[in-house]
Amino acid sequence: MTTSHELETRLRETAERLLGEKKVSLFLGYEKASLPLRTTPLFLTAAEQAARLAWNPFCTANLAVYLPRLFKAPANAREAKVAPPPPTVAIVLKGCDARSVVALLQERQVRRENLVLVGVACPGMVDARKAEIALGDHEALGAGEDARGNVRVVVDDGTEVTLRREDVLADSCLECRAPAPAVYDVLLGESAEAKETDAERRKAAEFESKPIDVRWTRFQEALSKCIRCNACRQACPVCYCKDCLLDQTRPRWIGAGTDFSDVAIYHMVRALHLAGRCTECGACARACPMGIDTRLLARKLTLEVEDLYGYRPGESAEATPPLSAFAMDDPQEFLTEP
């Protein structure tokens, strides 16, 4: 396995080369954050600053979320005249992020010819919240990685704690079926393997096996924490609509408050919009301030789309998303017959 340190060096070299040779005008990557266990997105424009780039077990953010706004079409002809040409962007992608880029390519939100995809074989990223819980009363002052990929944290009493990587991996990483990027121009690191290929299906089946009223209670328990901050929508790379259904007020489709029926409908509508598009990066779950398993519903619909229409999002930019297509012989057992 290539260590994070080696990958970081190669990432910096790649950025320096691409920016130095003027292949790209912007390099999107990660930078060490002010807090341990976290990184922050880095918008790099100068080759000299490539050393700011970081690669460590905390590079969780899905950078694809920034792409649609970089390639936003001018609103009208007058704006189009003065609009600068679209930038050329290099972007660091893990397996899930690469799937998001594929989804954006399918939906014509980004230009492939303006992108340099720097894929990194991803060993799974650490969920900062899980790590904080694992540390208990201690506060992390610094964090790194040992040779076996486990997380080493310096805590407030000056001692060093080692956390097993598997124990603090994000849920979406534990469920990830394809950690290696499907599309890339540059690939760093050797191929990564899925932890457990059936984890997602196991989780959905576990929920589904409960009686109907228990499911409803569980659903209520899970979502009643929701404060309707819309962070899950903002963090989602495929939620890019300029006029979101949620922001419409005439008619107001979904009430803005935290009445449970509004919360339930919000999450159901979001899940339906993500059906066949969700690339399972877990950005929504990381963004949620209330720690809701925001992927509860999207997980089910991803599997449903796979079973009914044999489609998995983010695998090929040439494929048609299943909700933009149909077939005469689509299954219709759900119909009511007299």
């Binding site: 499911r215 979904i254 029926s261 509508v269 339906l272 219709q332």
Partner: protein, 151 residues
């Protein structure tokens, strides 16, 4: 749209009758309902019809809104596959409906609360028997309390 339908009269349990909102496509199912009427075929008066241009026009949010605003069940009906006035609106809709139905079932809402069917303009009898079936099932389930907004 937003204020109009939020007033719901308190109904005594024994006089409770299910309310079913039916979204019917203009070209087939609405005409089918019309045929049931002109043929004097009896069917329960519990349905409230909303005419839509095509079943492809229906956004799953319509159905969820109906359930939120006090419908006990929702029926969606369009042209049979291959007969759509707009060639393929119902086929595109079918995928959305399949997912909505399994999603509702997944979160614990009885799947009989949302029903889909194909009714052509010549099938007045079929329309009446579908309505009978949907109303019967809604009655058996009782009032929709899970998604209804109670403020």
């Amino acid at each position: 749209m937003s204020q109009a339908q939020t007033v719901r009269e308190p109904v005594a349990e024994k006089t409770w009758e299910p309310k079913v909102v039916a979204f019917l496509c203009n070209w087939c199912s609405y005409a089918g309902a019309d045929l049931a009427g002109v043929s004097r075929i009896q069917y329960p008066a519990n349905i409230r019809i909303v005419r839509v241009p095509c079943s492809g026009r229906i956004n799953p949010a319509f159905l969820l809104r109906a359930l939120q605003n006090g419908a006990d069940a929702v029926l969606v009906s369009g042209c049979h596959p291959g007969d759509c006035h707009y060639i393929s609106g119902n086929l595109a809709a079918r995928r959305k409906f399949a997912l909505l139905k399994s999603l509702l079932q997944y979160v614990g809402i009885e799947s009989e609360r949302v029903q889909f069917s194909w009714v052509s303009a010549s099938e007045g009898g079929r329309f009446a028997s579908i309505v009978e079936k949907v109303v019967e099932q809604a009655r058996a389930l009782g009032p929709n309390k899970k998604l209804a907004k109670s403020l």
